[in-house]
Subunit: 447 residues, 2 copies
């Protein structure tokens, strides 16, 4: 029987980061990664297969990292795990482990909508062949309805739109697209941009039925209107892959992920879980968090991988940092929005500032940058931030995230020592993180 | 006689940020800003007047902020200050103060080189008319020598080069350009880029003499070679403007700036100083620091402005965060370089990682990003970082700076929760700050 000190099940962000971290922390341990996919897709890159990249083959995670980190790859499907004998049974034989890492990810949520099983209804399944076939199918359709206006929904919509000559409609249940990540004013900017690119946005409405004769023909909304559809893309979220964990009798958490403690250990001392399949708690207050992101998966995996033979790290909870980009507009968020913070019971001070992203603003490439920071009024501690602007917003949010993770106060951020340059950033006099923090202090009535 | 609760002398980054911060913290105080320049130039934007902008008029700090913040402007030169009666004497009359803020900035250092007073030798004087005249002069010359290969030197060189049809030579005393901000490997990349753009780089050599008959004709170097020159630009650093402070009898610090405590107060209880004219201490070890940057000036001004009528903030010392950009290559630095940290006596672990700035790397706009992080071996605390890549490096360095300012350890950075997106950042699996930190942990032999 094969044997490895560490067996990782799953080959995407969580599995890879767990294996690589384990290698760095435990140089002498043998590591085997088991996955069923011949090729692994970059999960966040999937929407870009449709318009920008043109093929799933341009959106692969290379296997070179496995060799470099001395991680053995077993291409197989796991059929069973015996916790007593610490044995993973696969379609390609059995393997014994000392420590097991579950990194099985998630699958698209399937809504309980009549007609979701019609031909022409697709979810964003993470499979190269499936996606290439979907792309071919989309090339020949005229009317596409995207169900769900979160990141996946709007990115799919914009990328399919780039394929040309299609009518695309995004249907969102909430009042605005992206409202789980941004406050309303930012959501509206993105909706306007999408509309200006020819995409129809239908918010505050629900898909009641997907209808057609064997093949999808139209989508019927809760407001009674019907939208013609040759294809429907479901982008309503993801569900943790916990079938195996359930079979194993591991504890499952409130949001449906494998329950873990702060060391990423499951209810079995020899089994860890990380990424989309693992239950998360929020950095803010410690409640269960439903967020599922590759960046969270990687961070959790670096905790799990380091802890396999001794506790070295603890998870402080999920901050939730992510971003999207349509055309020249990048939107990024870290931590709580104003609405979320207020809803959770924080006494919130929120400040939005705007400035050019270059100084002087007459320089080529200059664009408006908008930053909103959210603070708790009494402590002054930052709870979150949102950045809208050019491509640099994608890294500026990481400066915000560092402030959040360090639980910095508005006063500390007002003294933040940032680097500025005419061609790269806003002016130091109005640097938006600092400007927003200083404005917030005035609103806290502490002067 | 006029009277203001707060008088600020100087209208650039430090003076403006001090006045605006004072307004935010002391809503009812009257504030007057005294400056002699009709128009204030964006200091870091000065090199871009020559190639990119074409005129000093496109590189101005607008006065609108003064009105918005209810700051009175007095266009006048300060001739004297009486500390006893708290009176500022100017060419436009006298003004009494409760608190005085010195924000008089710096002027270009003039080297003790024979011939530096010849016609055709220029420093980067922060004056619109002077710079526009310099630009006109540079339009008709063929051979330009830039003395000094720091930021100002290389930015001037590249911008003058954009004016076309000139031979430009940068002369640098040290082994490499930019070596006060970057480790050698980054300096070399920038030097190679400048050379590929047609600029000659002469390092490890000194200008012995600027020679000519009334007007500059050539520059004679310490290695005996001569470089033809119709114009010479001096970019060898800046000297604090402390003439007034000396006259006032204020204490002057080791590097020649006005001495201040951590609240930015000078040796006079009613006088504060900030920006290039103020003495600085390093965030690392607390020694005197010669750094002069608009971003540091702004941060110090926000401390001074808040403290004028009660101590609200203390200066933790200068981290030193800055960046430059030539063509598509941005270089950014925060804190200590490996060489500086070793030189100061730290036991250093330095790690450099590279990855694409997009994921997949097949996306349009993908480029290589290089990140070097420097840690203290025993504590694991980050001492500095350098980022080289696309425009986003300008904000990524601010995430590094946040880590430095929070004195985060390699282990904390390895668990950093960053936001990632295919079109905006590196992949979460190889996100360079995290990857460098994790690699450093392995090198600390703590596993």
């Amino acid at each position: 029987m094969k044997q490895a000190d560490i067996v990782v099940i799953g080959g995407s962000a969580a599995g890879l980061a767990a294996a690589f971290t384990a290698r760095r922390h435990y140089a002498d341990k043998s590591i085997t990664l088991v996955r069923k996919e011949k090729q692994v897709l970059i999960p966040c890159g999937i929407p870009y297969i449709f318009g920008t990249l043109g093929s799933s083959q341009k959106n692969l995670i290379p296997d070179a990292g496995l060799q470099k980190n001395r991680v053995d790859l077993l291409l197989a499907e796991v059929t069973k795990v015996d916790r007593e004998t610490r044995t993973v049974y696969t379609t390609e034989g059995e393997i014994r482990y000392e420590r097991l890492v579950l990194a099985m990810g998630s699958r698209p949520a399937m809504p309980p909508i009549p007609g979701f099983d019609l031909d022409g209804v697709f979810a964003a399944v993470k499979d190269a062949e499936f996606l290439d076939n979907l792309r071919k199918r989309l090339e020949i359709v005229d009317d596409v309805v995207v169900v769900g206006g979160g990141f996946i929904g709007i990115e799919f919509a914009d990328e399919i739109n780039k394929m040309g000559n299609k009518n695309i409609t995004v249907v969102e249940l909430m009042d605005h697209c992206l409202s789980l990540a941004y406050d309303t004013e930012f959501c509206i900017e993105m909706e306007e941009l999408l509309k200006s690119r020819g995409i129809s946005i239908r918010t505050s409405t629900k898909v009641e039925q997907i209808s057609g004769n064997g093949k999808v023909e139209k989508v019927i909304l809760s407001d009674g209107t019907e939208v013609k559809a040759d294809a429907v893309i479901l982008g309503i979220g993801a569900v943790a892959n916990v079938d195996l964990a359930r079979k194993l009798g591991l504890r499952i958490g409130l949001t449906g992920g494998v329950a873990v403690d702060r060391t990423m250990k499951t209810s079995d001392d020899n089994i860890y879980a990380c990424g989309d399949c693992a239950e998360k708690i929020s950095f803010f207050g410690g409640k269960a968090s439903p967020l599922k992101l590759a960046s969270i998966a990687s961070a959790e995996a670096r905790i799990a991988g380091a802890n396999l033979f001794g506790i070295r790290r603890e998870n402080v909870g999920t901050v939730g940092v992510w971003s999207t980009c349509v055309g020249d507009l990048a939107l990024a968020t870290a931590g709580l929005t104003e609405a979320m913070a207020s809803g959770q019971g924080y006494d919130v001070v929120a400040v939005t500032v705007q400035c050019p992203n270059r100084h002087p603003g007459t320089l080529p490439g200059a664009a408006k940058i908008t930053v909103k920071l959210i603070f708790e009024r009494n402590s002054g501690v930052i709870l979150g931030g949102q950045v809208m602007g050019d491509v640099s917003a994608g890294e500026m949010i990481n400066a915000v995230s560092a402030c959040v993770q360090s639980r910095m106060t508005a006063d500390q951020i007002a003294m933040f020592q940032m680097g500025t340059h005419p061609l790269l950033t806003a002016s130091p006099i109005v640097y938006p993180l600092v400007d927003a923090a200083e404005t917030a202090i005035g609103m806290m009535h502490r002067s």
